[in-house]
Symmetry: C2
Subunit: 133 residues, 2 copies
DNA sequence: TTAAATGCAAAGAATTTGCATAACA
DNA sequence: TGTTATGCAAATTCTTTGCATTTAA
């Protein structure tokens, strides 16, 4: 148990949101300025190997990390990038089918489900009307 | 209509699998060696803007590109990385719920659904038995 | 002949790695 | 005291960008 590791774990427990490695590094560096981001990556990797932490991909940017106990799925708008957290129940049917048809045990939280939020759909429709007219 | 663009479109139509920008560039360069990969990226971007091509993320590596007409979802094993193509019907329930509860029109093909294939689940179980015993 | 597309090289973002030093047990 | 972790810098991977030159309509 080293200082960087202790601070990282503390950060992860204190706030439960998803944060990128860079954001976590910034929080840690506020307390211990010369902890390097490679140490953060290495510790996240180790914590993930131990099953304490998971990471997920919510878009094209950097991965986000959080406690495994706080994992959940996401809908992300491809246009405005708004994120919605969704309950595992949303994936019940998909999970059942994946097992039944392919023997796959899915982790539907690793990658977000991308789409268009209601607002951006409306905007796209308006644009459609405009360009058509 | 320039030579690089023509060759890229031909490549995309000839074989229907998903290929990375690098793979597409290699195919193109077999015919016209000094077409650069940045041109491939630029044309893919343009074709995507026009709705002819889509890209998806099947794992942590490079994105894969294919004709929009050939789009489909994927299950990918996080361990052995085997890929299974799945029909849109798999996502019908998720799609319905996303619209009903959040107004989201999802594109469940952009990011793969990650998980463990049957073989890797079995391997994990064996390991579990072993380490437990 | 003029706007658009290209090639090259360099920049960028996110992550990983090599290696000498430092910290833990 | 010996393994494990760290900091730093450099390397990697994937993708984008700047800019001078070429190509196509």
């Amino acid at each position: 148990m080293t200082t960087p590791r202790r601070l990282l774990v503390r950060c992860l427990f204190e706030a439960s949101g998803h944060r990128t490695a860079e954001e976590l590094a910034a929080e840690i560096q506020a307390r211990a300025p010369d902890i390097s981001i490679s140490t953060v990556y290495r510790n996240l990797e180790e914590l993930e190997r131990l099953g304490v932490v998971v990471h997920s991909h919510l878009g094209h940017g950097p991965a986000t990390y959080h406690l495994a106990t706080a994992a959940h799925g996401h809908l992300v708008c491809r246009k405005c990038e708004i994120q919605v957290e969704i309950a595992d129940g949303f994936f019940a049917d998909l999970r059942r089918r994946a097992i039944a048809d392919f023997g796959f045990a899915i982790d539907p939280r690793h990658f977000a489900v991308i789409g268009l939020c209601a607002t951006c759909q409306a905007a796209a429709d308006d644009l459609g009307d405009f360009t058509a007219g």
